[in-house]
Symmetry: C2
């Protein structure tokens, strides 16, 4: 396979850095063609790299925590692991970056340092708004791509057009859907449904987004009736978290039903493997985390609780997106691209 | 119990009218203190009423179907069951109305004929925007009230304040929560999160909605951390349908896991009752359907597929809301009420 070099944020996540280091080891073991740049404090990354062939250290003494204000932290902590890693991607020293750190901070740093593509709108040269994108397993056995999941609570119709174009590129090259069907998240499937805002997006999306199939609704996120669901970051975030909340609640209720009686406990024993698989399927992301589309580099953000498995998957998924040519596919999906 | 007279739309729903008639019989059997006004075509409602003590017929020869444009249908089909029933509520001939018909048409007819309360805003006398409200069982064993679920995709901050006030009244008198905690649906729980619109709602809601606890997110719909979730009808509809879609998908996957092996089939036999209860809990609504808050009468809209059970529950829930004094509680929750 193509050799890929991935930056991994050793300080990302809500667990001890050792969890991330173990995750890196697991990723190295799973993919012989990746190299990892471990980004973090000297005392952690230097000894870790010394003992391994395919690991380089990149020293970053500062840490951006989940509690920091994302924008302020990115501006003031220039030597944080997140900022240092984004600059390495920009310079071409790494092919991609995986962090299980704060979504807001990674998004802000990646936008500032990996930088978005630019396009012409009339006479104006404008940057693409990066959108947070995730792929979740649907009932039809495929993956539904959701974008934007929260980077941009307020957007313009042109941004929605680009979310659709970039989301379709992601569905194509990463999820393997030949001709992705792109839906506009709305409060009903009829063409006339929507808020003033989504109604103003309908015509430009119909015209400019390949595979646009019209409005879709909350139930379509997991139904498999569309491959890409486009929304502003506000409604997208609400939809994703409602989905997660419902899945969590059902698993909780199911556990209650199983543990509430002897019959249930016997059933639980019989079903152990299937229940674990079900839990696995609906926790976290099918593709290792949320990806930022619209940037000149692959940046993946681990979602949910950090674990060795999550860091491994995120690191491998970052390499997978690089190998799939995601950044190039996104670039060629944007109309009027200049840079 | 207090005698209550409920209009039931015999032509509502996607099944044969006989399903509704059987549902009425089931409701009459379950509650000795309700009377039903069966609203529909003469050939159905007159013979049905003749054979029953506590049923009156109300003849409505026209039908509004799920395919009709709601507003146009309500204006042109003045003798439809939906319009005729709403006028009966307005006149005081009935205490409430239950329909399993099209949400849009029932909302439009109820707004036009049952009519909303009015309040003073500065020098202006304005009608309350009715909001579609539903209560769903949460993980904490209580009920979360969601409003608005789709009547108003675009609203003003003042509307959101009233949704919060009215939703809290519903939580109090129908769900039995003494001091409902009211959350503003957003893309994060921090005070600074939100779209431009929800940010503009935060301060007025904090000031005017009793029990306001700040922003909540999609996961809070089923977590039980708030009792009332307030949003515009666009985001609310997305959140509700995403929740329903996730629940449906998980039940589907669970069924697959159970039926995929012999062990699973044995487990399914052991768990039969619990699985039915789980399915029951997350299908449809805890309170018989979606209720329209802000109107001078109780109007309930059946949600999901029509069945004898659903019509029975909807009819009983309509009577329950009347007995609980919902309309009066909503009226007294609205600031500046004049009528």
């Amino acid at each position: 396979m193509k050799k890929v070099k991935v930056c991994v944020d050793v300080m990302g996540g809500d667990e001890e850095p050792q969890v991330v280091l173990d995750g890196i080891d697991a990723a190295l073991a799973a993919d012989a063609d990746i190299e990892v740049i471990a980004v973090g404090p000297e005392e952690l990354v230097v000894p870790f790299a010394e003992k391994r062939d395919r690991v380089e250290p990149l020293v970053a003494p500062q840490v951006i925590s989940m509690e920091d204000d994302p924008l302020k932290a990115v501006m003031s902590k220039r030597k944080s692991s997140i900022v240092v890693a984004c600059r390495a991607v920009k310079k071409g020293a790494a092919d991609g970056f995986f962090s299980a750190g704060a979504t807001g901070a990674v998004t802000a740093a990646a936008t500032a340092y990996v930088t978005p593509f630019r396009f012409m709108e009339g006479d104006e040269r404008r940057p693409v708004r990066p959108c947070i994108t995730t792929a979740i397993p649907n009932r039809a056995g495929g993956l539904t791509v959701l974008c934007d999941m929260g980077a941009n609570p307020d957007v313009e119709p042109g941004d929605m057009v680009r979310f659709g174009q970039m989301g379709a590129a992601y569905s194509r090259v990463v999820c393997g859907v030949a001709r992705p069907r792109v839906g506009l998240l709305s409060n009903g499937t009829e063409d006339t449904k929507g808020s003033h805002f989504t109604k103003s997006c309908f015509a430009p999306m119909k015209e400019q987004v390949p595979g646009f199939v019209g409005n879709c609704e909350g139930t379509d996120i997991l139904s498999g009736s569309v491959d890409v669901v486009v929304s502003d970051g506000f409604a997208g975030n609400v939809a994703l978290k409602a989905t997660e909340g419902a899945a969590k609640t059902l698993m909780h209720e199911l556990k209650g039903a199983l543990m509430g009686s002897l019959k249930g406990k016997i059933a639980a024993l019989l079903l152990k493997d299937q229940l674990m698989a079900l839990k696995q399927k609906f926790s976290g992301d099918a593709k290792g985390g949320a990806i930022l589309l619209g940037l000149k580099g692959v940046v993946l953000i681990g979602h949910g609780a950090t674990s060795v498995e999550a860091v491994k998957n995120g690191t491998l998924a970052t390499a997978e997106a690089v190998r799939a040519g995601l950044v190039e596919a996104v670039a060629s999906s944007i109309e009027g691209l200049v840079e």
